[in-house]
């Protein structure tokens, strides 16, 4: 990461009627970052992204992107930004290939590049057999992949992606993140909103947004380190019963299922204490709530727990 200015967002604000969707966002995103924008539904993520994409004019504040003001120089910025919105925005009666060609042409992607890039992207997303199909006849996830491919046709300095992998299958999702890794390696900047915590893990930086504000930001590791407590993994025959038993108990700040296991966030930071010799470091308060045959062990903090913790903190 260099010291080049990436994004410097100051006091960015936007209201719709009574609702202040973005309420004075302060955020720095280093150039070359893959920045994951997290937060509960309705936090204001899409509105923030639309202002960065210069399609929405802020009520107050500004975002400097590569040294240019989004509020004052949108015309100079727009060509350097690739934006994928949450809504399907392709021509329904054009084919997949025609849509790619059309949008790349209006974005000024040279012809040889278009010819090379389109089949490459379709192939990597498993869409090659459907190049001639009209966009309106695609399945939900295929429409999403067409939008992704269209956004990736040009090589903008900043990619703004609003929940790009919604409805995208696991294989294509991996492929998409492989492509993002290439973009990252080329030094370009990505800001991606996502509800998938496994995707948040893959970002170089993340920010948590709630009620129009960025409440926390840093590397995924920094956010994990800031969570007070220890994450435990419980393996027991009936994980849902375990979950129910742990819910809202004192000393337990969260619990969720992960596959067949239950992950429990206990308020105490166990690592700071010397484990009593011969016994596990699991507090009796937790142990007593679990079936005798449950296996319990401390595990590394995960983004799912970080999200729950921050969402709960915000709601309180």
């Amino acid at each position: 990461m260099t010291d080049d200015p990436g994004l410097a967002i100051r006091g960015l604000t936007k209201s719709f009627g009574e609702i202040e969707a973005v309420a004075g966002v302060e955020l720095d995103v280093p150039r070359g970052a893959v920045f994951g924008l997290l937060g509960p539904d309705g936090a204001g993520k899409s509105t923030l992204i639309r202002m960065l994409a210069t399609v929405l004019v802020p009520d107050a504040g500004d975002a400097e992107i590569f040294g240019l003001s989004a509020a004052h120089s949108p015309d100079r910025l727009t060509p350097r930004i690739g934006y994928m919105s949450q809504r399907f925005s392709m021509y329904p009666d054009l084919s997949v290939a025609e849509n790619l060609e059309f949008f790349a042409r209006i974005r000024g992607v040279p012809k040889p590049r278009r010819r090379e890039r389109a089949p490459e992207l379709l192939e990597s997303m498993g869409m090659a057999p459907f190049a001639k199909r009209q966009a309106r006849l695609l399945s939900g996830g295929m429409k999403q992949k067409l939008m992704l491919a269209s956004t990736l046709m040009h090589d903008p300095d900043l990619l703004l992606l609003d929940e790009p992998t919604t409805g995208v299958d696991p294989v294509s999702r991996r492929e998409f993140w492989r492509i993002l890794a290439d973009i990252h390696a080329e030094g370009r900047t990505v800001l991606v909103a996502t509800p998938y915590m496994d995707e948040a893990e893959r970002c170089t930086h993340v920010g948590f947004m709630d009620a129009g504000r960025i409440t926390h930001s840093g590397t995924p590791q920094e956010l994990k380190d800031a969570i007070p407590g220890t994450l435990l993994e419980v393996i027991a025959p009936d994980p849902r019963a375990v979950l129910a038993a742990l819910r809202d108990q004192p000393g337990i700040s969260g619990a969720h299922l992960l596959g067949n296991t239950v992950r429990v966030l206990v308020a105490r930071r166990l690592a700071d204490e010397a484990p009593p010799p011969g016994s596990a470091v699991i507090p009796d308060t937790v142990r007593d709530l679990l079936p005798a045959n449950a296996e319990i062990r401390p595990v590394e903090m995960d983004m799912e727990s970080v999200f729950s913790h921050l969402a709960e903190e915000a709601a309180a």
Partner: protein, 262 residues
């Protein structure tokens, strides 16, 4: 498409939630669903997985009587959905990939609309409405416009409209796509509550941690059903330590290399 000897209706369990044999749907020269057999006993949470475009939504649209199959047979709750789609529709719920809410109606109006479609009586509607508002945590928000609700609420209201007529089987097509992790978990708790009441759930999802919580899974590729089993069976078949994500990626790769595309 390969031709199987499909078992006949003779061996059909009349109590099953779903009994499907050789279901096919073509659009022009393209075969979207290429002969699917599925059995779902009552009371199960059944996960229907597969890559984008593999035919999941098309299958659901046939099973809900929205479109007619090109070939095959399908019994839903013991009724022949091809001959009597209206009989089936009265007994099932369907939450489609796009939430089917009226944006400029309020929460209460959306519920009333669906109650009227299903011909609910006044008392029954009052009772179902109260239950749904409670279940979805929407009490006190009856007069809010659907469009002003955030995604998690819209999703729960959408489930409410799909269950207003007390269906015995609910089809949920990617009900949690684009929903934040906390709302997603709350939604699955609602699904379990429904399952505990004995309602059968037929769910598609691209989240493999959700798939883990289904009783049984089927995996489709290129319009064909290529693997089935409990989450544990499927994981075990991929070797020790395999996750369902590994299973999905592995099955997809096997099928692609084998040339199972249409």
């Amino acid at each position: 498409m390969d031709v199987h000897d499909h078992p006949t209706t003779a061996e059909r369990d009349p109590g099953a939630a779903l009994f499907v044999r050789g279901l096919v749907k073509t659009f022009g020269s393209f075969t979207a669903v290429a002969g699917i057999d599925v059995d779902v006993p009552r009371g199960q949470v059944f996960g229907f997985l597969g890559p984008n475009g593999s035919g999941k939504t098309t299958t659901i649209r046939m099973l809900t009587g929205s479109i007619a199959p090109t070939a095959g047979e399908a019994f839903v709750l013991g009724e022949d959905v091809i001959r009597h789609p209206e009989r089936v529709r009265a007994r099932i719920g369907y939450m489609s990939q796009k939430f089917s809410l009226f944006e400029d109606l309020t929460v209460a109006e959306n519920l009333r609309f669906y109650a009227q479609i299903h011909g609910l009586g006044r008392d029954e509607f009052a009772e179902r409405r109260a239950w749904i508002l409670h279940m979805a945590g929407l009490q006190g928000r009856e007069d809010e416009l659907a469009r002003n609700l955030s995604v998690g609420w819209r999703q729960r209201l959408s489930l409410g409209t799909a269950t207003i007529h007390s269906p015995e089987l609910i089809f949920l097509d990617e009900p949690t796509s684009g929903v934040d992790p906390v709302a997603r978990r709350q939604f699955w708790e609602l699904l379990y509550e429904l399952a505990e009441q004995g309602i059968t759930l037929f769910v598609t999802t691209h989240y493999m941690d959700e798939a883990t919580h289904c009783n049984r899974l089927a995996f489709v590729y290129g319009g064909k059903l290529i693997a089935q089993g409990t989450p544990t069976e499927l994981r075990d078949s991929f070797g020790p330590g395999a996750t369902l994500e590994d299973v999905f990626v592995g099955l997809e790769e096997q099928s692609r290399l084998r040339g199972d595309d249409r």
